[in-house]
């Protein structure tokens, strides 16, 4: 049982990181209808900047984090302002392609600036420490990941719920023209949502690097796993992003934990998942969960159906 809880806890921590990535997607999608394929590389850049800030530029961690957020936000905002703004009303596919272009540029830039295979992560706490509670070893890293994600979600909730800007963003997401008509600066709202997404990506990047104990060019692929999370939750739902992320994280870790040990008894045979489906089945488990959910709810757990009018 300790093993189960151990892995379950890891699933929650991993789920928090997925949730952070998924949140970035959802916030941008809701405000401007754009699927940002560059989200993964914004996270990558954020992770590198935090690491470089501490180990190359010898800054205090929080200063490094602040500078990293500032830079990724500046890039995201500039991209929104100077590229995406010109694409308003353009085909969604073309806009998507633009974000893929940004993705390529960011990745190439990161590799050019930081050519080594691996960089040390930075954290204000020991990323390799942990303590024991009833046979379950809890890592400091997991604790901080869960706490910070929780705080971020609560802060975002409060922001959307209680502030003028949050209200403006919700309104603009629901009906752009009506938002314009009441005087909401929809352009600013879009810029703002990119800024929030970039900031969240940087924080997600920091945690991801801390969990992997290294910053490397492959961190951006996490965005691929965030896709099932956002679809599972419903693409236009902030709550869905968080719930989807958690479900994906837990499913993935439980699969990884049991796929090559737990025996399945079927038709008089005993075998493990790995025996029948090959190693690393956990990599595709999130997609299977997503497929099952979509078969039952074609718009995700919290998504809304679009009505086509005639």
């Amino acid at each position: 049982m300790a093993f189960f809880f151990q892995i379950f806890l890891a699933g929650i921590a991993a789920g928090c990181i997925y949730a952070l990535v998924a949140l970035g997607f959802t916030i941008i999608f809701k405000s401007s209808g754009v699927i940002n394929f560059a989200q993964g590389e914004l996270l990558l850049l954020g992770a590198y900047l935090v690491s470089a800030g501490v180990s190359q530029w010898h800054l205090n961690f929080f200063l490094a984090l602040f500078i990293a957020i500032a830079i990724t936000v500046a890039i995201a905002v500039a991209f929104e302002r100077f590229a995406l703004r010109r694409m308003i009303g353009r085909p969604a596919f073309s806009v998507l392609m633009l974000t893929i272009g940004l993705d390529t540029l960011l990745l190439t830039a990161v590799i050019a600036i930081w050519p080594d295979v691996l960089y040390a992560p930075a954290a204000p706490y020991s990323t390799t420490a942990g303590f024991d509670v009833g046979g379950v070893h809890i890592t400091i890293n997991d604790i901080w990941t869960i706490i910070v994600t929780g705080i971020l979600c609560a802060a975002l909730y409060a922001f959307f719920r209680y502030t003028r800007y949050g209200l403006a963003m919700r309104a603009a997401a629901l009906d752009q023209e009506a938002a314009l008509a009441v005087g909401i600066n929809v352009g600013l709202v879009n810029t703002f949502s990119w800024a929030i997404a970039a900031a969240i990506a940087t924080i997600g990047g920091f945690f991801l690097a801390a969990h992997l104990s290294g910053v490397n060019p492959g961190l951006g692929v996490i965005a691929l796993v965030a896709f099932p999370a956002i679809i599972l939750g419903g693409i236009d739902s902030v709550l869905g992003a968080v719930v989807g992320g958690l479900i994906i994280g837990i499913v993935q870790q439980l699969t990884a934990g049991y796929e090559n040990t737990a025996l399945i008894h079927l038709f008089g045979q005993s075998f493990t998942l790995t025996d029948k489906l090959g190693p690393s089945f956990d990599a595709i488990a999130p997609y299977l969960v997503m497929l099952v959910v979509l078969l039952i709810r074609p718009y995700g757990l919290f998504g809304k159906r679009k009505v086509e009018r005639i």
């Binding site: 998507l96 633009l98 893929i100 995700g300």
Partner: protein, 407 residues
Amino acid sequence: MSADVSATPPAGVASRRAADVTTRLLGTSRRRVVLILALVAVAIFFSVANDDQFQIVNVTMIYAIAVLGLNVLSGYAGQISLGIAFFMGIGAYTATWLGGTPPTSPRAPVGLGLPFWIWLPAAGIVAALLGALIGPTALRLKGFYLGIVSLALVVIGVQIFKNAAFLTGGNSGRGMLPPAFGDTPINQQNDLFGIALSAGQQFFLVIAPILALAALFVANVMRTRAGRAFQAVRDHEVGAAIMGVNLFEAKMGAFILSSFLAGISGALFASYNVHVDPNTWDLTLSIAFVAAIIIGGIASVWGSLLGAIFVFALPKVLDVYSLVPATGIAGLPSGDVNTVIYGLLIIVFLLFEPAGFVGLIRRGRLLALRMSERNRKGGEPTPAAAGADPGGDAEIERTRLTAGSDA
């Protein structure tokens, strides 16, 4: 236009038009001239190109077949898909199963060593059948949901390809034979009717006609009943249904045709590379195809070809005939500089022309049309001149894949 309504058409009009009722792909003499010039250019290329150039052109043509397929599904029928790589993989493995070397050891993957003309169509058919099997589930979904589910297909596909070692060779992949003229595989220097042909030339002779046929087929579909239904479904599902279009049938048709073309492309790809790696059929490949249809032009056969050139040939051209010094710029290797240039090209191009190359061409054509319209002073005003702008919203909107993107 009221004058028009009240006038009973002269008796001759209807019958004259009746004779002129087919939309001709080569309807105008100018188009015919363009086609002939293009063919001459192709023939000259064929004669003088070296292996480097054939390499780029042949691979691009193979990809172009799948780009056409994706354009059928996403461009014409409006169903966003990132799953094209999966169906290419299916085609490739069908081809290796039927056309691969018969195994010499018990651990080697299966292969029946059948000839080209069997495995190539079979690859398309198997991919199409699988499309027919998956379609009913996938096509329940719309827009980005469908897109992401098709992405799942690719991820799951790679896992299957990695583990079905009896067919795919597992992680290390497996070999495949190239088509053969007689007994000699065409990736060797070969004599055909007494003329020595290089490997590049022989592949060209195989691939180019297949691509031409695929393009002609798609163009034909799109100007007949099924293709009109695809496009109606893309533009407005409810409207299409009211006009009698069976949405399920139309979407499935597009899905199956698209899978078929992807399968053909995958099979050719496998035999061209003489090796198939399970990691080939991943998301990166699918995204490249999406890029190709966007940059080339949504819902256009020519756009598919141009898009394939931009996405698959241009980076190679940049690499081979690079303006960037081999030592790179500012410490960045030249390959990375080319990647940056390419990424910027995509962004700049889409900012300038969101409808892709086809949009560019159309825009040019309309400009010419409007100028000639202006010159024809006193002539009868056409509705295009009197009313709305043909080059305006409608053209740009063509590339809109609705997809719930207007949230």
